[in-house]
C-alpha cells in the first residue's frame, strides 16, 4: 500500500507533519517547511532590505537548519539581507570546541562570514574555569545568562541590526510552561514574542517560532545537513529537561499540543493594576536589567570576589 502525498497526489509520502497530520512527499515537505518560515518572516515583518543579520550558530540542529534556510530564503525571495554567522565559545573542552568545528564547516558550506566570541575574552572566565569554582549545581545559570549577553556583544562587534536564533516551537512551548510553573509573570508575555528589542537597538527574533522540532530534524536528515549533537558535558538543565519530557509526552498523544501551548501563551493577559518589574539598565555595564546590577555583572562579581553563590537563587531579589 503506497501512501500518496496529500499535496501533489503524485509522489509517495515520507513524512507525517505533526502540526497538521498531513502526509507529504519529500519535495512537498521541503516546500511547505520553507514556505511556512518565509510566511512567518513576512507576516511579522522581521526584516527590511539591507538589514545586517547575525545567525546565532551553535553547530546544533536548529541553528544549522536556520543558517541553511535563511541563506536559501534570502536568495529565493530577495530579502536583501547581509547574513553572518555568530558563535559563542563558552570554553567547554570536549563540547564546544567540537561543535565550533561544525560551525566552521557550515561557514564553508554556506559561504557566510563567521565571528566567534568567547566567554574568556568577554568576561575573563571560561565555563571550564567557572565550573571549577562553582561546581556542577548552578553552572547552567552562569552559562545561560552569559550567553544571552555574549550574543548581543558579538552583534555589536559585527555591527548588525538583528540576531536570529534557532528557537523552535517545542522550545517556546517549553518556556511558556516553565514560566507558568515558576510563576514568572514578567517573562510569560515576553517569551512568546517573535521579535524582541534588547540592548540598544539590536533586534532578536525567532523565525522557527512555529516550526516543530520534528520537522527541523527531518529536514536536516533528508537534506543531509551537517550538524553536531552531543549533550553538554556539564549536565543538561534539569528543570528544562523535565518540562521537555512532559512536552514530548503530550506531543505523542496530541501533536497539536505544542502549537496550542504557544497560542495559550500568546493569549495570556495580565490583570490591570498588576505591578511588573520596571526594565532599566545595569549601572555597571549598561545592559538592560530590572535591578541595579544586571544578572551577568552580579554573577561576575561573585566569581571575582570568590563568592560564586552571589546572584544565584532567592538572595538575588
Amino acid at each position: 500500500m503506497v501512501r500518496l502525498c496529500v499535496i501533489c497526489n503524485k509522489e509517495r509520502a515520507i513524512v507525517k507533519r505533526p502540526k497538521t497530520g498531513q502526509q507529504v512527499c519529500r519535495e512537498c515537505f521541503y516546500y511547505v517547511f520553507e514556505t511556512e518560515i518565509h510566511n512567518t518572516i513576512t507576516d511579522n515583518k522581521l526584516f527590511k532590505q539591507g538589514d545586517k543579520v547575525a545567525i546565532a550558530a551553535s553547530g546544533g540542529k536548529d541553528s544549522t537548519v536556520l543558517a541553511y534556510v535563511m541563506k536559501l530564503l534570502n536568495q529565493r525571495y530577495q530579502y536583501g539581507l547581509d547574513l553572518f554567522l555568530l558563535s559563542i565559545d563558552e570554553g567547554i573542552t570536549g563540547y564546544r570546541d567540537d561543535s565550533l568545528e561544525t560551525v566552521k564547516r557550515n561557514q564553508q558550506q554556506y559561504d557566510l562570514p563567521l565571528k566567534i566570541v568567547s566567554y574568556s575574552e568577554l568576561y575573563g572566565w571560561s565555563m571550564d574555569q567557572i565550573v571549577k569554582e562553582v561546581g556542577l549545581k548552578n553552572n547552567c545559570t552562569f552559562c545561560g545568562v552569559f550567553r544571552r549577553q555574549a550574543l548581543d556583544r558579538g552583534a555589536v562587534i559585527l555591527d548588525v541590526d538583528h540576531i536570529v536564533t534557532g528557537h523552535n516551537a517545542d522550545d517556546i512551548a517549553e518556556t511558556v510552561l516553565m514560566n507558568i510553573l515558576r510563576g514568572d509573570i514578567a517573562r510569560l508575555p515576553r517569551c512568546t514574542e517573535i521579535c524582541t528589542t534588547g540592548d540598544g537597538s539590536i533586534r532578536r527574533s525567532k523565525p522557527f517560532k512555529y516550526t516543530y522540532e520534528k520537522e527541523i530534524v527531518m529536514y536536516a536528515y533528508f537534506k543531509k545537513l551537517d550538524y553536531f549533537s552531543t549533550e553538554c558535558i556539564y549536565s543538561p538543565n534539569a528543570y528544562r529537561g523535565h518540562v521537555r519530557t512532559f512536552i514530548k509526552d503530550l506531543e505523542s498523544i496530541r501533536p497539536s499540543a505544542i502549537i496550542d501551548i504557544i497560542h495559550s501563551g500568546e493569549a495570556f493577559e495580565i490583570k490591570e493594576g498588576v505591578k511588573l518589574p520596571v526594565q532599566g539598565v545595569c549601572k555597571r555595564c549598561g545592559y538592560m536589567s530590572s535591578n541595579e546590577l544586571c544578572k551577568a555583572c552580579m554573577l561576575l562579581e561573585g566569581l571575582n570576589r570568590g563568592l560564586p553563590k552571589l546572584g544565584i537563587g532567592k538572595n538575588f531579589k
Partner: protein, 104 residues
C-alpha cells in the same frame, strides 16, 4: 520455520551515545521473534534494548516503544506512516533512529 533477516540500523542525533557511539550496524534477527507472528518494530525495539543498548535504557525506550522525541524512519519514511510498532520487518530494511532531544 524461522529464518534470519538482515536489518540495517542507524543511530544519530545523539542516540548513538547510548550505543557506544556506534552509528551504523547491520544485525541479523529471526524473522519471527515471537512465533507465529512475523517480527515487528515492537519486537525489534525490545531486541535492540536487550542486545545493543549500552547504558541508560530509559533514554531509548519508554514502555514498549521508543522514548518520545526519538524519530524513527523505516526505509527513509517516517514510521508514523508505516504503522509504527506494528510494522513487519523485512529482509534488508533500513531503520534509522534520530534523537531530537539534543541541544540546538
Amino acid at each position: 520455520m524461522s529464518s534470519l533477516i538482515k536489518v540495517n540500523l542507524t543511530f544519530s542525533g545523539g542516540v548513538e551515545l547510548l550505543f557506544n557511539n556506534i552509528k551504523q550496524k547491520i544485525i541479523e534477527i529471526p524473522s519471527t521473534i515471537n512465533p507465529p507472528k512475523p517480527t515487528t518494530m515492537k519486537d525489534l525495539i525490545l531486541w535492540i534494548k536487550d542486545n545493543l543498548l549500552q547504558e541508560r535504557s530509559e533514554l531509548f525506550v519508554s514502555g514498549n516503544t521508543v522514548r518520545p522525541g526519538i524519530l524513527v524512519l523505516i526505509n527513509d519514511t517516517d514510521w508514523e506512516l508505516e504503522g509504527e510498532l506494528g510494522y513487519e520487518i523485512k529482509d534488508n530494511d533500513e531503520i534509522v533512529f534520530i534523537s531530537t532531544l539534543h541541544g540546538g
